[in-house]
Each structure stands twice: as structure tokens, then as C-alpha cells.
Amino acid sequence: MTRQRLTPAAEPRIGPALTPLARPREEPSPDHPPGGFPSQPFHHLDALWVQVAGTLCNLACTHCFVTCGPHEERHVMMARAEVRARVTEALGLGVKEIYLTGGEPFLHPEIEAIVEDTLALAPVTVLTNGTLLTERRVAWLAALSRAARFSLELRVSLDGTDAATHDAFRGPGAWVRALAGLVALSRAGLLPIATFTQPEGADPLAYTARCVAVLGETGVREPRVKLLPMFRLGREAARSGGYGPGESLAGLPESAFDPQRLQCGRSRAVSSRGVHVCPLLVDEPGGRMSDTLSGSFRPFALSHGACTTCWATGLTCANT
């Protein structure tokens, strides 16, 4: 028998006392003009995406939807204090979990302190290309994960099930380094999630099985796989031509619109430039919504080409 006496948890180590909120509208009526773009209502801040590394990355992938790279500083790195302030703001609004992204988060000189700060208060996911996972860093991640109240998730991005496909996007040697990172995390007792770009037309069940098999053969225990579609934004738009004028949600019948389907009803992204509707649209016109999180809690017109991809695939950038 397991017996547990509940005692109140300690108050958050940083940040103010939790602020009771009015009950949000769970079933809002979206402003949905006939022939116009559907308007995504905002329900609640479940996930906060923090573009902690800005657009700085050690790779310059040909399909990067925010055009990150070694010299890309359109969005600068967020300082530890700035991240802490955003997390505190989000906790006051009842946030469920935090995602740390970039660019490449492990380029950030304060990333370990930032992860420690945040994981003390909420579940954390770090999105990485997997190429900077040194032995010392993996050991630190494993120790931190074991000691934490909340899950520490590591998400490693892959773009194919072989070196040729992956490296065509990410550069020579990226596949070997990313797989080495995944194996190192696995051997340290962690359970990283590998996110694969789903080839157009691929059967999800068969492709997932292929991804799991490749990771298993490489030595990753209990492989966790998440598929993501390609977004024709940023550098990928330059490569493939982006979304055409007919690729939009304009005219979607109100009866066909499900206000619970898209993650932008339950998440926001912050960068050094402010608050954005989602991590995909940090560079897109109209993607920046506010200086404050609470100021961004309003409907968003689904007018971007990328919105069609999210809508069609039911994508969530969240782990599940």
C-alpha cells in the first residue's frame, strides 16, 4: 500500500504568488467572417515557447523555417534574467509547460542555469539539433532529470532515416553527430524524442516504424518518435517557393472550423522581440502580437500559409 499525506508544496522559488484567474471562455464564438480568414480564439496558456537562443545556430539548414544560422542574429539570445521574467509571467497565468528553442539552445552560454531555473518550476522541453551534446553536458542533463520533480524532455531534430537525406538539409556530418547525441542521451538513462520531418505522402504508421527501427539499430533505447510536416517558411520558402496565393484558410466554412484544433489557441512564443502567436511565425508579418503575454491573449486571424499546414495536419508543436 502506498500512503501519502498531502502537504502544501513550497511556493515557486522565483516569481510571484499564483494569481487566481477568471474562468476563461472554453467555447468562444470565433469571429469568422464569410470568405475571410477564420479567427482562432485563445483558450489558455498551456505551453510557453521561449526562443532562448534567438536565431543563432551552429547549423544553417536549407529548410529552417526561422532561417537560423551561425551569423543570424535577427532575434538575439535571451538573457537568463529575461527568460526568468517570462517564465514568471507565464506561471502567473497558469502555464503548464515550457519549451526552450532557438536557434540551437545549447549555444547559449547560460543554458544550464536557464534550464535549472525553469525545471524547478515547470516541465521543460529543450529542442536541439543534437550536435552539441558533449559527454559532460549529457551527464549534467541526466543528473538534472533524475533530481527534478518535472519531466525534462530532450527533442532532437532529424530530417530523414539516413545520413544522405538528413545531411542534404543540415550539412555534412550532421547525421552522425545527431545520432551520437541521441545515443549518448539514451545511454545516460534519458529518453529523448526524435522529431522527424515527415516526407510528403509518407504513411505515418510505416514511416514511424521505420524511424523507430533506425533509432533502435543505432542503440537508442525505447525510441520515441514525433513526426512533423515541412513548413514552407524562412529558408524553406526560398528553397521551395513558399505558399501560393491559393494556399490559405480563407473561406473555410465556420461549420468546418474547430476552435480546439490548433495549438495557437493554447500557446504563445516569446523571443527577444516580444510575444508571438507561435514558434513558427516569429519572423512573419503579424506574428508578433504584444509585449506581454496577457496582451497576446486575443483571437488570431489564421491568414498565413503555414496555418494551412497546421490545419491540414492537426499539427501540434508540443510533445504530444
Binding site: 500500500m1 502506498t2 500512503r3 501519502q4 499525506r5 498531502l6 502537504t7 502544501p8 508544496a9 511556493e11 515557486p12 504568488a17 499564483l18 487566481p20 484567474l21 477568471a22 474562468r23 476563461p24 472554453e26 489558455h44 498551456d46 507565464a90 506561471l91 502567473g92 497565468l93 497558469g94 502555464v95 503548464k96 509547460e97 518550476l121 515547470a122 516541465p123 532529470s145 527534478a148 520533480r149 518535472f150 519531466s151 525534462l152 524532455e153 539514451s186 545511454r187 545516460a188 538513462g189 534519458l190 529518453l191 505515418p204 504508421l205 514511424t208 516504424a209 533505447r221 525505447e222 520515441r224 518518435v225 514525433k226 501540434t316 510533445n319 504530444t320
Partner: protein, 284 residues
């Protein structure tokens, strides 16, 4: 009399029966004995006394012969809130709406749902349709909200390691509850929050908790001066008999393996790292 609005000092809560009629029978007997000792003469909510039992839904799925569990639960008189599986069966939907995000999990869930849907009669479907999506009672003067997944969504997974205190506090505040009791994940946990609020996930009695044990779990909540006590109690049953019955019914062998080993072999796609790590052994 509607069970909602009733008051009690002890509350036995179980969920996720998943057609495990053997575990359900065992749990009901154990709960009955415990609540009898609490000066309650009946399991249902219409009698006097200070103890109550509730089922938090998902009566079916996963296991064999769904009507066995349905009949047993109805006969017990234990009030039940509706789970996503109950909603789907009651409304003859095409799938269980379990909320899986992994293609393999979805395939296995569909196989199980098709098996179950073909074996649930109209009387049971009407009963499942009639179940409330939530119930509100009082435990030691605290406002308790009973639901299947979360107060805001029937199939939302509330995992211990994936919910900040801030989020759970917001859920309590937004839904006017001092204590939220839920199920759906299949793994039990409890959290005390700042301000005296609590969230308890009672786990499942139909499937082991991915801990290597063949028993399943329910929760017993007791109000005492200034605090809520939570006990998670194991449900022992003849798991080998259930496994053999599942094999005879040609249910997925992955499900049978879980019953025999206590480790999940499916539905892991939604499980966060911390809960999944239970099954890892250190690398050599």
C-alpha cells in the same frame, strides 16, 4: 437522488476499468469492506453515512467481454462519471477518442474499440450516454470536482510530471474546485498545491500502472482536520485468468503482455519522460 452535491468524509475513487471485470470485482469488494468499516451501509450515494465511492469512467476498452464489467458496475450502484470511451460507445462513434498521438497506439486502440463496440448492447449504450461528464461533491467541507480526464476536456492527460503547480492551481480556480480527482492516464499520483488545493489522479483498476506489478490501483481519500489524506491501494486479482480470457478473445497480444508483466507495451506515445523512465534499467 443525484449523487452530485453529496457530502462525505471518506471517498473511494477508481477509474479506467477497461473491461477488467476481475479487477473490478476485487476492487468493489475491497472498497465495500473499507467503507463498511467507515459506517456506510451502501456503496451508492443515496444512503446515509460518511463514505462514498465513485467511478471516474472508461468502463471498457483494452480487456475482454465488455458487458461483464458494465453489468457489475451497474449492479454495484457506484455512481460513475463518463469517460471518453463511455462517450464514444454511448454515441456509437467511430473511435474511442482516447487522444493518442502515436500511429501504432491508434491502431491498437482501434482494434480494441472495434472489438468492444461489437459487444456492447443498446441498454448499456443508453446507460453510458446518460453518465454525467463531471460530478461535484464535498469531502470534509472541500469542493471536489470528479472528472475523467480533466475538468476542461474528457480525454486530456494530466500526468504528474507534465503539469506545473501553476497550471493545476489554475485548473482548480478556473473550475471552482478545492480538489480535482481525475483518471485517464492510468498512472496514479497526487499533488498538494499552494492555497490548500489538491489534484489527485486515481489511476486505473483495469491496467497495471507501468510499474512492473500485476496489481492495479485505486485511491482512498480521507478528510481530517486541515488536510486531505490520500492512500493509493493495490487491487490484486487473477491477472493470469484475465490474460487467458484476452487471448481467447484474440485481443492484441501487446495488451495481454501488459496484464502479465505490469509494463505497458502500447499507449506510451503520450507518456512523459519521467513516467516512461520507470521501465528503464541502467545501461551496462
Amino acid at each position: 437522488m443525484s449523487p452530485s452535491g453529496t457530502r462525505c468524509e471518506r471517498l473511494a475513487v477508481f477509474g479506467g476499468v477497461y473491461s477488467n471485470h476481475l479487477a473490478l470485482r476485487s476492487a468493489l469488494a475491497d472498497i465495500s469492506e473499507r467503507l463498511e468499516r467507515s459506517d456506510t451501509k451502501r456503496l451508492d450515494a443515496s444512503g446515509g453515512g460518511a463514505a462514498r465511492a465513485w467511478c471516474l469512467g472508461d468502463v471498457n476498452g483494452f480487456g475482454p467481454a465488455p458487458e461483464k464489467s458494465l453489468e457489475l458496475l451497474r449492479a454495484s450502484g457506484v455512481p460513475t462519471v463518463q469517460g471518453n470511451y463511455d462517450h464514444s460507445l454511448g454515441h456509437a462513434l467511430a473511435d474511442c477518442a482516447c487522444g493518442y498521438t502515436d500511429a501504432r497506439d491508434e491502431r491498437l486502440a482501434q482494434e480494441s474499440y472495434d472489438y468492444t463496440a461489437a459487444r456492447v448492447g443498446e441498454r448499456s449504450r443508453a446507460w453510458l450516454r446518460s453518465l454525467p461528464a463531471e460530478a461535484r461533491i464535498e469531502l470534509g467541507g472541500r469542493r471536489v470536482l470528479l472528472c475523467h480526464g480533466s475538468p476542461r476536456r474528457q480525454n486530456e492527460f494530466l500526468w504528474d510530471s507534465a503539469c506545473s503547480d501553476a497550471f493545476l492551481s489554475w485548473l482548480c480556480d478556473a473550475h471552482g474546485a478545492d480538489l480535482i480527482v481525475c483518471s485517464h492516464t492510468g498512472i496514479h499520483w497526487a499533488r498538494a498545491l499552494p492555497g490548500g488545493r489538491h489534484v489527485v489522479n486515481c489511476g486505473a483498476i483495469g491496467r497495471p500502472a507501468h510499474d512492473g506489478g500485476t496489481n492495479t490501483w485505486f485511491a482512498l481519500l480521507t478528510a481530517s482536520a486541515g488536510s486531505i489524506g490520500v492512500e493509493f491501494l493495490p487491487v490484486a486479482y487473477d491477472h493470469e485468468a484475465l490474460a487467458r480470457e484476452m487471448e481467447r478473445e484474440l485481443l492484441p497480444r501487446e495488451f495481454v503482455e501488459t496484464i502479465r508483466t505490469g509494463w505497458w507495451t502500447s499507449c506510451l506515445g503520450n507518456v512523459p519522460a519521467r513516467e516512461r523512465m520507470r521501465s528503464l534499467v541502467p545501461s551496462a
